[in-house]
């Protein structure tokens, strides 16, 4: 068990210490401590229902929207407690962006889906700059060529895979520091998946990135660090190359070699 990690403190973007999460009486996460740094992409893997999404949501307080949900322990962003009363949650979610499992574009134009965040956070000083942010974000998400002639059409009219890339473009548009992705490719074809993975490579180092994935090959391809969750606990956390060639815990091995359950 290594909930204590060996990361160099200075590069830690986010840290969690002894995080428990409850839905009402039911405990979904049990004592998770992890350090997320800027240099590495971190993958969360584990069987369905083990708490990956729950834990991920604690990292930008997305679970605030679930009334029964209670979080204890400490989570920091640049050393600052994100659950402190002084923390501005809207600001927090701009700094810690999230891409969900199911694409959830706003029922607005493609353009406005991207422009919304930069507008409310005052990131663009005029129409030209906003246009630039929209184009750059769509390009980075690998969607520009497909939508550049239809920016005024509704985001919901795009295919599932396009919608997901739209959501990634939307998350990038506000220039976050951390991007949390919850199975971002589960609805994408292999080409679109490859584009997202390439994007993750490109973004590595500029943002701290955490990705939840059920696809072991994807975790192996995109991440440098992997955390394996099981029944609400973090069983093992280490270098991806080590986890996939020589995991230390039997539960990890059984899961990644397909012997689970």
């Amino acid at each position: 068990m290594n909930t204590e990690t060996t990361n160099i403190a200075s590069s830690n973007k986010m840290t969690t210490r002894n995080v428990d999460v409850f839905y009402g009486e039911k405990q979904a996460i049990n004592g998770v401590s992890i350090d997320i740094d800027m240099e590495n992409v971190t993958a969360f893997i584990g069987p369905s229902g083990c708490g990956k999404s729950t834990f991920l949501r604690t990292m930008n307080r997305m679970n605030d929207t679930i009334p029964s949900c209670r979080v204890t322990g400490e989570i920091t962003l640049d050393g600052e407690d994100i659950y402190a009363p002084s923390m501005d949650v809207v600001q927090l979610r701009a700094r810690v962006g999230m891409v969900f499992q199911k694409p959830n574009p706003f029922p607005k134009s493609i353009y406005d889906n991207i422009a919304y965040g930069p507008r409310i956070h005052g990131l663009a000083s005029g129409k030209d700059e906003l246009d630039q942010i929209v184009e750059k974000s769509l390009q980075r998400a690998g969607l520009w060529n497909e939508v550049k002639d239809r920016l005024n059409e509704s985001g919901t009219a795009l295919s599932g895979g396009q919608q997901q890339r739209l959501c990634i473009a939307r998350a990038i548009a506000v220039d976050p520091e951390v991007i949390l992705m919850d199975e971002p490719c589960s609805a994408l074809d292999p080409i679109a998946t490859a584009k997202i993975e390439e994007l993750i490579h490109e973004l590595r180092g500029k943002y701290a990135i955490v990705i939840v994935t059920h696809n072991m090959q994807q975790a192996a391809r995109v991440s440098q660090r992997t955390a394996f969750f099981h029944l609400g606990t973090m069983v093992e956390y280490g270098d991806t190359s080590e986890m996939f060639t020589n995991p230390q815990e039997e539960r990890t091995r059984d899961y990644i070699t397909g012997r689970y359950g």
Binding site: Q217, N246, P247, E250, T252, R253, D254, I256, G258, Y260
Partner: protein, 240 residues
């Protein structure tokens, strides 16, 4: 997790049957290589040219098995994307099939010399060769048993016991050279016996290679590099 055995089955059962088929093929190629060693030595002892030819012929089947195993491993890697212990085992299987094929080649090489060695000569040091072959063959057998039973300790022992074969080689080498100096007419046959001893020594090394891969597959760690007992003054005693 150092002595794990993969007893739990995969959720995808077909993966287990692929793996057991490959393990069966390794047992088969290993059995054939061991048999080649013993038949080659028997052909040598009895100057049995037919038997020697049979060894050469059987080597084709060993080559074919190696190819079959390689194809299967590559296909399994492509189709099943194995991870961790499974991946290590498949990579070990791939390498072991290549090493066992080489062991077969050494046996074939011994068999080929039967026809060219003048059997009427009495070259005393050559009398140690059957015992050396026995020791080398036993190493191969134990290395393959370690593979079949995923036994890291046995693999470790095989590496340790390779010294016995090396000692045989050093003894035979020295006494053969001395014999050849004293009996210049025996130099031709003596050289062949030297090569045979060398082939057996290499078989021992390859058994060690198999054992090292087994150790890695089972534990995820490399077995400590051992001092190989090489004799630097012996120009023949280099890896080939």
């Amino acid at each position: 997790m150092n002595t794990t055995n993969n007893s739990t089955e995969h959720t995808v059962k077909a993966f287990d049957s692929d793996i057991s088929e490959m393990r069966g093929l390794i047992a088969e190629i290993g059995g054939r290589a061991e048999k080649s060693i013993s038949l080659a030595m028997k052909a040598l002892a009895n100057n049995d040219l037919d038997l020697a030819r049979e060894v050469v012929k059987n080597d084709k089947q060993i080559d074919a098995l190696e190819e079959k195993i390689d194809r299967m491993v590559i296909q399994t890697i492509a189709l099943r994307a194995p991870m961790a212990d499974d991946l290590r085992e498949l990579v070990a299987t791939l390498k072991i099939s290549g090493v066992v094929e080489r062991i077969g080649d050494y046996a074939k090489n011994i068999a080929k010399r039967v026809a060219v060695i003048d059997n009427d000569l009495h070259i005393e040091p050559a009398s140690l060769l059957p015992a050396m072959a026995q020791a080398a063959s036993q190493l191969v057998d134990d290395a393959l048993t370690a593979y079949a039973t995923r036994d890291a300790d046995l693999a470790d022992q095989v590496c340790e016991r390779d010294r016995v074969v090396d000692d045989f080689y050093n003894t035979i080498f020295r006494s053969l050279v001395t014999h050849m100096v004293d009996n210049p007419k025996h130099i031709g046959a003596g050289a062949h016996f030297l090569f045979i001893a060398k082939n057996l020594e290499r078989i021992g090394d390859h058994a060690t290679n198999v054992a090292e891969m087994v150790y890695f597959a089972v534990t995820g760690e490399n077995i400590g590099e051992r001092e190989r007992g090489d004799n630097p003054s012996d120009p023949l005693y280099s890896e080939d």
